[in-house]
Amino acid sequence: MGTNSVNRRDVVKATAAGLLAVPALGSLTSCATGGGEDTKAEKGEKTDKNPLGVKKDAGLQVYVFNGGYDDKYARFVSDMYEKQYTKAEVDQKRTERIATQVQPRIIKGDPPDVVNNSGAEMMSISKLVKNKQVSDVTELLDAPSWDDPDVKVRDTLVPGVVEMGQFGGDACYQLNIAQTVYGIWYSDRMLRDTLEAEYPKTWDDMLALCKKAKKKGLHGWTYPAGHPRYMFFSMYAMFGQAGGRKQLDAFDYLEPNAWKTDAVKQVFEAYEELLAKKYVLTGFDGKNAHIEAQTAWTKGKAVFIPDGSWVENEAKDTTPKDFGMRVGATPSLDKGDAMPFGTLYAPPGEPYIIPAKASNRQGGLEWMRMMYSKKAAVNLFHEVSSMPVVKGAIDGMKLPPGVESAQQAVKAAGDNIVIAFFKEWYADLWRVDFDAVVGKFMNGETSVKEAMNAMQKAADRTAEDPDVTKIKKS
């Protein structure tokens, strides 16, 4: 003992040697890409009562995004499942960070059976499809529905649900549960009593109405400048009206010069006029802008706001009782429009996926079949006041004014429902690029032409980026 004479130099030397040995160690630790082994999915016998062949005692794990919807509506479905399969236990988890919680498990090959892939931290669905990490749910779509064995599940759903799950093929990888209606939101009372006007069906009427509002000291429009992409909620259907479905397809399939057409120009020019005439109440900046702008709107400072159907729930604390919240379809630009007034941007949302390697895949599909039952759809509506995608599920119920007008708008639109697929497929192009371009445009920093060029440039970049999985027209 006591023969050690340790000096600083020796310690540094040993440390360095240790760290040099690390590369060897690094290669030993498992890499993130190390795939898992194939596990056999649990399966039971297919019967009339069990059309998907669920193994009755197999546990089921469900991950639900814990956002504005909470997870009570999903617990309702889990309870249904446990009641049907008394020996099975549903382990339902909620999280705000879907990607953090679920992505590593998907990569490892040990995923949950059902995942509500939603929220700011949702996983890129195109990447999941490309990596073959999600199941094709065609089997479920062709299975008999929960309420009526003679009707297939796919026939109980509103148009768009299946299409939203397809990524350039017939297979369907994603199931949405609630329909969002985008458009121009207003107060019926303000429109009728204060302005003594009807909802404008053409852009000229819109401008005239804004002029009238200005005389009464009101702004015609407002929008959250901190999230300028909200403008898309009123612009998108107008692109469709002006240019037809051909124009919208051109956006989706990143066709050359899709953003440089006359239709796009007309829509941008319409909003330029709105800005030039100072009809827009601005200055709601920062990350909380949508709440600030919505509050100014419910307090009657502006007549119209581009928004989605969640606004009724989100703004309910500041909305006066007799406000009469309504959504209107976007006005027509002129008589030569390719699609009529009433065209509505109303995509199904709140996506669910069944991971490809889910150990109880059949159970996951069955859980979704229950989600698409009338019972669960009505419960979903009660919990979150959103329109379920199950056809006619909430018909005849007493609805809040906003939802009721959204229902009417959907009915009025008929076949003219439009869906921006590129927004889902190339999230960046909408969330980052459209946001930046329209932000500058609405601030008056760029002209119509510059805005169109910038969008085209972003679309071209997306088309050329090898890291972006492209969806081809099927």
Partner: protein
């Protein structure tokens, strides 16, 4: 393992026996001695000259092994993995194909990357200068800026101990909280800043601070980062200044040095090492700026490289994102080297 045969240092002498004789039979016993305490080590091995070296390194390894293992697993190995992934097209799936320098070529041609890097580099250059200058100024006022009192060469301004605590407040708050609070302060319509300007008749200075204008957003971000870190440097530099012996100040005072001369000729050179360390640390903080920008600034107004990197991850472009991360790592290192280099001065011992 190669053993050392250099003569032992230190007072004790041992290893009288020639090394050669024990080598044949000693190998196994020697290997065993690595794990045996000296008490149970055979005399023959203990008297071996090599045993001293073994005993010494065994001692060092004993207390370094665990922390080094942690460091290796949780710091070094992720770094190495990240460097590896930056040469692949990994998209979150089970496969990552090696693509050579494709990600770096893409970055070179990526306008959005360069735009974000411009913001990050401006932060890197300006923020440390402002923060450190303010920190040094406040610290100097606290330790040596006051009026001369009887019997003391230097003293702080009145209430200096209170200031020291107040300056430190922002450091106690989490950065996310700071970003949320300042977002409200900057709000165009309901913010404290525009409200204050309006109430004192300076309506002309009211701005849409985070409303989309790049320069304003950059300025606002710099102000928040500087504000949140300045207190830390006040405390750091006060401590460094407090360590300077009072008699140096007395000598300067006798020579007729004023406050400015005392600061530039005495204080600053004596705390230079601390300033340099602070500069490096603050530079890395400014180059990051992730939380403040992500939470406070709308992405269409301003984007720094770490936020751009985060967006690449969100889009599932893991390979490209890690390549950006590697570039940030290199940038931090280059910055550190430059500061070490230009900041090198003779050390003054006191």
């Amino acid at each position: 393992m190669k053993t050392e045969t250099r003569p032992a240092t230190g007072g004790q002498t041992s290893g009288k026996r020639p090394v050669g004789r024990t080598r044949a039979s000693g190998g196994a016993a020697f290997a065993l001695a690595v794990v045996l305490p000296p008490r149970f080590t055979p005399e023959r091995v203990r008297n071996d000259r090599r045993y001293r070296t073994l005993d010494k390194y065994r001692f060092i390894v004993g207390f370094l092994a665990l922390p080094l293992a942690f460091y290796a697993v949780f710091v070094i190995s992720p770094f190495l993995q990240a460097i590896y992934y930056s040469f692949t097209d990994w998209a979150g799936g089970a496969t990552a194909n090696f693509v050579g320098f494709d990600n770096y070529v893409k970055m070179w041609n990526d306008e959005r990357f360069w735009a974000s890097l411009q913001s990050s580099l401006l932060l890197l250059v300006v923020v440390p200068l402002v923060t450190l200058a303010l920190g040094i100024f406040f610290a100097y006022m606290i330790t040596a800026g006051g009026r001369h009192r009887r019997g003391q060469a230097v003293s702080g301004v009145a209430g200096s101990s209170l200031y020291k605590i107040v300056y430190f407040f922002p450091q106690v708050l989490s950065i996310a909280l700071i970003a949320v609070v300042w977002q409200q302060v900057y709000s165009s319509r309901s913010g404290l800043l525009n409200g204050l300007l309006g109430s004192v008749g300076l309506e002309g200075l009211e701005q849409r601070w985070l409303g989309g204008d790049y320069k304003l957003a950059l300025f606002s971000t710099m102000a928040v980062i500087a504000w949140s870190f300045v207190g830390f440097y006040v405390v750091l530099f006060s401590a460094a200044m407090g360590a300077i012996p009072k008699d140096i100040y007395e000598a300067a005072l006798l020579d007729g040095a004023g406050r400015a001369a005392t600061f530039f000729r005495v204080t600053l050179p004596l705390i230079w090492d601390t300033v340099r360390t602070g500069w490096i640390y603050m530079g890395i903080q400014a180059l990051d700026a992730f939380a403040v920008v992500l939470i406070m600034v709308p992405p269409h107004a301003l984007k720094v490289t770490p936020v751009y990197l985060y967006e690449r991850f969100r889009e599932g472009q893991f390979g490209y994102a890690t390549a950006i991360g590697v570039v940030l790592l290199v940038l931090s290192m280059v910055f550190t080297l430059i500061v070490m280099r230009i900041g090198r001065r003779d050390q003054i011992e006191y």
